[in-house]
């Protein structure tokens, strides 16, 4: 029993922490957020050089071959820095390719993705269908010459900066569609979260470059890892919002004292710490399960995503309250954290959706799972 990061993981953390802090200072972040693409090409290149594009992708396909715990470490730091980056969507696409693609497809798509040369993103949610996870309505029609895709995928992350989409269809399959293919139209959607761009992708009679041989079930573990990575990001958001609040509460004076001396404020900060620490424990518990005990991953991932979905926006929300009026201004960075946390909460199953999965597991059996 040992619940802490290894020295290597600590090293990933500190590298990521320092790099992201220097790369995404507030002014730079605001520039990227206000830009047309919302994307930082030079930052991406540096991340790729650090091996992040393929961090948890197989070594034989150009990745680093590291585990979900390492991935969680990285994404916690991404959240802490509020990094605007296609790293999450690219990672999810890469994980899906590693489980669902043929060797030939991996050579063509996964390797360059893992090396940071090509960017992919999943296109999952159908504009005319359910927004619930893993419910797809787009048909994989066949006209004799192969698959033809018609319909609109929406809430697609980082579509503008992606080279290809992994389009999910009702049969559970995934299809590679290049952004430049004929019949593909990308339309940006306005999101509350300015640090992660969302778009609609209209497909009109599109012939995918490839259809992966994998089946719908193959992608379930990828979905669960995506939940863990997103939950890790939200934990990082919460940690940063907590630190900003504590620092402000020590500094800001009212009635002749730092406001952090008042229990109405200090107890709110204590609550923020509780939620942040709980979130972190749930995330690393799930990340560990993903690597070492896959049978317990579904429950652990839902536990983490449900908890971090709530904490990831509630802690920044509490931070705004601690800051008072200044926290409500555009000029202060806190609103970016609140918005990113709120967006993370809604993606890949919200807290309610994941709690329902937990209820299934807990209420089915004779009792709650016992401690080891």
């Amino acid at each position: 029993m040992y619940f802490d990061l290894t020295d290597e993981q600590q090293a990933i953390r500190s590298t990521a922490h320092d790099f992201l802090a220097s790369r995404f200072k507030s002014e730079r972040l605001r520039e990227i957020a206000a830009s047309e693409s919302g994307f930082d090409e030079s930052g991406w290149k540096e991340m790729a050089e650090l091996g992040w594009a393929g961090l948890a992708l197989p070594e034989e396909w150009g990745g680093q071959g590291l585990g979900t715990v390492d991935l969680a470490v990285l994404f916690e730091e991404m959240g802490y820095a509020l990094a605007p980056s296609p790293l999450l969507s690219n990672t999810i696409a890469g994980l899906a390719l590693s489980v669902g693609a043929s060797d030939e497809q991996k050579e063509r798509w996964l390797r360059p993705l893992a090396e940071g040369e090509l960017r992919g993103t999943p296109a999952l949610i159908d504009a005319d269908g359910s927004a619930e996870p893993m419910q797809f309505s787009m048909a994989a029609e066949s006209d004799g010459d192969g698959v033809v895709l018609n319909g609109v995928k929406t809430l697609v992350m980082d579509a503008a900066s992606a080279d290809f989409f992994l389009v999910a269809t009702a049969d559970g399959g995934r299809h590679i569609v290049e952004k430049g293919s004929s019949g593909v139209t990308v339309t940006p959607e306005e999101s509350i979260d300015l640090t992660r761009r969302l778009s609609s992708v209209r497909l009109e009679g599109v012939r995918p470059e490839a259809t992966l041989p994998g089946s719908g079930e193959d992608y379930h573990p990828v979905f669960l890892r995506a939940c863990v990575a997103l939950a890790a990001e939200s934990t990082g958001l919460a940690q940063r919002a907590l630190e900003m609040s504590v620092s402000y509460a020590k500094d800001r004076q009212q009635f002749g004292r730092p406001i952090g001396a008042y229990q109405a404020v200090s107890h709110r900060c204590a609550q923020m710490l509780l939620e942040t620490e709980n979130s972190r424990s749930a995330v690393y518990g799930a990340a560990w399960a993903a690597d070492a005990e896959p049978e317990s991953l579904p429950l652990a991932a839902s536990t983490a995503k449900a908890y971090a979905s709530d904490a990831g926006w509630r802690v920044p929300d509490a931070a705004i309250q601690v800051h008072g009026g200044i926290g409500f201004t555009w000029e202060h960075d806190l609103h970016f954290f609140l918005k990113r946390g709120r967006a993370n909460a809604a993606m890949f199953g919200d807290a309610k959706w994941h709690r329902e999965r937990v209820a299934d597991a807990v209420l089915a059996g004779e009792s709650a799972p016992a401690a080891s």
């Binding site: 029993m1 107890h267 710490l273 709980n278 690393y284 080891s372």
Partner: protein, 392 residues
């Protein structure tokens, strides 16, 4: 990171598990406290004979010298099997460790063995009517008289004082010193006329704890632990001890309760189905599971940290706070699931589950008060973990 037990830890768990299965005497009798205590004394003798009393104590003092993980495993397993508590909980968890850490050789020779056997029950005389959270303001006086001290004052919330031979008593020996100094830690013999206990009846109707009155009670100088004037430091050790074991026992207990709550939901009719089909109850139960999991994982994370640094940090306060919240939520939810039946308690013909949830609901009100109120824990976290300024 490895959240599984090592082979040697697994071996330890299996040993604990099978010993408990063969030896634990079943549920405590549903009787008065006297019968329950007699039952627990017998159980403790059995524990001691097999070397399971004082497992955290060093071997040279009759303990098992178990690692913190082994303590956690033992506590979790004992609770999972719903083994009874030993009679001398406070002696084992606090009194013994204090004597081991601060006591003289004579004191170790005199006190430790009867703690382990349960022959002498211990209680803790810290809180006073006017000194609760602000413990260091306590007023009970001890005045030197030859080679004795004369103690006058009152203690309160003294669990099992009515059965205790020894009281871990903190009294003021220097009224002129600053409040944290001038305190001394004594082992007070409860069996004397000048010490009177009066049970306090709790909102559950039970009397676990007491008021204790000292009217010029006598305690020999030899019974000072850790030196005159060092009472605060010694008392703090007491409070830090066996946190690991207590936390994991508490977590297993909540896991047991959560299992019972799920069963209650499955068996309670609601909207033509059961409460387990009701979306509201499903969400609430899932959230409780999630909270219990985070608490369990936090505790493991804390344990790793404590084993690295050697001392439990103030982060332990988070666990105690969360435990109280969860236990209260859980019993509140049980009452919600029971609906109109939730008014019927122990003894009622139609009480659900023998009225156990009504008792649990009432008893858990104390969880956010006993052993440090949630409000004080938040202060500790704010000041000692987050480094926020003190109001005082």
């Amino acid at each position: 990171m490895d959240l599984t037990l090592s082979p040697s830890e697994e071996e330890f768990r299996d040993e604990v598990r099978s010993w408990l299965q063969e030896n634990h005497p079943g549920p405590e009798p549903e009787a008065g406290l006297d019968e329950v205590m007699a039952f627990r004394r017998e159980w403790q003798l059995k524990l001691h004979a097999a070397g399971w009393a004082g497992i955290s104590w060093p071997k040279e003092y009759g303990g098992r010298g178990a690692t913190m993980i082994e303590q956690a495993i033992f506590a979790a397993e004992a609770t999972r099997q719903e083994a009874p508590a030993p009679a001398n909980v406070l002696g084992l968890a606090m009194g013994g460790p204090v004597v081991i850490a601060h006591g003289s050789d004579e004191q170790k020779a005199r006190y430790l063995e009867p703690i382990l056997t349960g022959e002498e029950i211990w209680c803790q005389g810290f809180s006073e009517p006017e000194s609760g959270s602000d413990l260091a303001s306590l007023k009970t006086r001890a005045v030197k008289d030859g080679d004795e001290w004369v103690v006058t004052g009152q203690k309160v919330w003294t669990t099992f004082a009515q059965y205790a031979k020894w009281c871990m008593l903190v009294a003021r020996t220097d009224p002129d010193a600053p409040k944290h100094q001038g305190l001394t830690y004594f082992l007070m013999d409860m069996e004397q006329e000048a010490v009177q206990t009066r049970p306090l009846v709790q909102i559950t109707g039970e009397g676990e704890f007491n008021e204790v009155f000292f009217e010029e009670a006598r305690v020999p100088d030899a019974n000072v632990v850790g030196g005159v004037g060092n009472g605060w430091a010694v008392a703090i050790t007491t409070l830090m001890n066996e946190r690991a074991g207590l936390a994991f026992g508490a977590i297993s207990q909540i896991q047991n309760s959560l299992g019972r709550l799920s069963k209650l939901a499955r068996e309670t009719p609601a909207n033509g189905g059961t409460a387990a089909d009701d979306p509201y109850f499903r969400q609430r139960i899932a959230q409780l599971h999630i909270e219990v999991e985070t608490m369990r994982l936090n505790a493991y994370r804390g344990l790793t940290k404590t084993m690295q640094s050697g001392i439990p940090g103030p982060e332990g306060s988070l666990g105690k706070w969360q435990w109280a919240d969860i236990n209260q939520d859980l019993t509140e939810l049980a009452l919600e699931i029971e609906g109109a039946y939730s008014v019927l308690t122990r003894g009622a013909e139609h009480a659900v589950a023998g009225g156990s949830w009504q008792y649990g609901f009432l008893r858990s009100r104390a969880n956010s008060i006993e052993g440090g109120t949630t409000d004080i824990l938040k202060n500790i976290i704010a000041e000692r973990v987050l480094g926020l300024p003190r109001l005082r």
